[in-house]
Symmetry: C2
Subunit: 331 residues, 2 copies
């Protein structure tokens, strides 16, 4: 073990799409834990669409990353050195240490994870933030009823794939929207959705309408832009839109023309951030673990090798070029 | 009493703004009531923004008016001849007879009104559909809490003026948005709002922000378009948007750029139509009557004389050139 660390820093704020030039990779001294702290070696870094927001300085629910700071992100790591009785070397932990190989954190800020029955990386996905996002969004805002039609965009992604499978378990007709035939095949054949529409194919709006003969009752929106507009046109009276992500709009505002449907159909459209249910995370994790262990939730990871490739991993994720939950393998 | 009737018919569907050419005024034979029916002479016709929607054949919550049909609308009238024991000549009734001087209706479809303590025309406004729209929208979707900031557009109008005064009674800071200084003066001085912003004045967006130093918690949206976009930019976390009307968008879709705020601020945006609370109208009417009789709800009418001027009355209403609840005096 040598005594250096490696980090990805925010070098500049993106103007439009994120580029490699917005990041800087740097070596740094490995930090030393003080009393009550532990040194963690990160094994997995989660890449998520929300990171695009943190790179901007537009007003948001949390402050942006400052120029020169380590990019934020959740990781799974292993304790290397502990100066707190609650953790010991070798423990697996969930951290907010961001895009770096090593980091020091207060022991109380880390969550010890049990990777005996499910892989450690799942705590960054299906039983982590993305899975909980799907679970709270669906149950607290969508409130699915049997035989309703549920649509989810970015259907093969970390949140969408879980949301759709949970809706299916709740008895809904489930239609995904994803970019490309390969993803759609996976969503239909592996995840068991009733249909998946390829929004890169010609006249996909007609295909969506045909896949939803009874209209749409719940939309779990991860994309926004033209996808949301097409969905809004066929939403039913008293339907719900869970506004979870707007990845198509992060590089600049999109002009929505579909607001009339909200009025005419008395749609409830509601934004969500999983943090708002912080005190109820245990409920979601317990339910998601049960489903995973019962084989009811299928899950796919997309893995980038090495910290230096993390910037390109995020760029690809934001462009929809990844497939499944995007992770960076750090060790 | 002669035996003719006079009607305003839909002559053509508007392309963009409504024009006089979209209407045709015609004489017709006065209808004769059958058993169980009454003949009503209309006294007041209500003009409302929803009528623009009925003139189009875009999908909506009710079927459109067909070409050649009498324009729909609520009226207050007096029974001229009754063939039903429940009503007698001279009774004042609330009807859906539309834009005509006389009409026949089933007695059971009419609501007998009591005009002894409040003017009959109020049943088309402050204690009628517009007042109930304000009441249900505010209480069922807005759910105001003391000291929250409440914003309403078309603040001097039939719905907006009631919504703002009810929010004030609920303990909110109330800011109106209206077109023109005269309306704003009325809203501030007569209706007692804390402020009213003239959206026809230069840099009204800055004025709105200054009038809402704590941001906006509830938006009662009657206008949409650029007004809603400006409001969305300063809405607070966990705020609510009551989508009641989008009069700025009825002639064609507006491109909304503000959806990111819905996500970031976890805004609940919900469309409403007063019909959805049909079985609870009595609650709203009772509450509104109490407020009117206690002098707590100020109310202003804008009156067009004669059926032949109804088309221009609607055109002016849709362009924001009226002031207060728009009525046509028919008799």
């Amino acid at each position: 073990m040598n005594a250096t660390n490696r980090q990805v820093l925010l070098a500049s704020r993106p103007e439009g799409a994120v580029t490699r030039a917005n990041f800087r990779i740097a070596d740094a001294p490995r930090p030393t834990p003080q009393e009550g702290e532990v040194l963690v070696r990160n094994e997995w870094l989660s890449l998520d669409p929300y990171m695009r927001g943190r790179m901007s300085d537009a007003k948001s629910y949390v402050p942006p990353v400052q120029i020169g700071e380590v990019m934020v992100g959740q990781t799974v790591g292993r304790v290397v050195e502990s100066r707190d009785a609650r953790l010991q070397a070798g423990d697996r932990v969930l951290t907010q240490l961001g895009w770096q190989l090593y980091g020091v954190a207060k022991a109380g800020a880390l969550v010890k994870i049990d990777a005996t029955r499910i892989p450690a990386s799942y705590y960054l996905g299906v039983v982590g933030m993305p899975g909980m996002t799907a679970w709270f969004g669906l149950n607290e805002i969508g409130k699915p009823r049997r035989d309703e039609t549920f649509v989810v965009s970015a259907a093969s992604g970390a949140v969408g794939s879980v949301a759709g499978q949970l809706a299916k378990l709740a008895g809904c007709r489930v239609v995904g929207i994803a970019g490309g035939r390969e993803k759609c095949d996976y969503v239909e054949r592996e995840l068991g959705f009733d249909a998946c529409i390829d929004h890169k194919a010609g006249d996909w709006q007609t295909a969506l309408r045909e896949a939803c003969p009874g209209g749409i009752d719940i939309d779990f929106e991860n994309v926004g832009g033209g996808v949301l507009d097409a969905v809004l046109r066929i939403m039913n009276p008293f339907s719900r839109v869970i506004v979870c992500g707007l990845v198509a709009e992060y590089n600049g505002p999109y002009a929505h023309a579909g607001l009339r449907s909200v009025l005419v159909n008395r749609i409830r459209m509601q934004g969500m951030i999983v943090f708002d249910w912080k005190d109820r995370y245990h409920e979601a994790v317990a339910a998601l673990r049960r489903h995973v262990e019962a084989g009811e939730l299928k899950y796919r990871e997309s893995i980038v090798q090495g910290l230096d490739n993390a910037p390109q991993g995020l760029i690809d994720l934001l462009a929809g070029r990844n497939f499944g939950k995007q992770l960076v393998k750090l060790a």
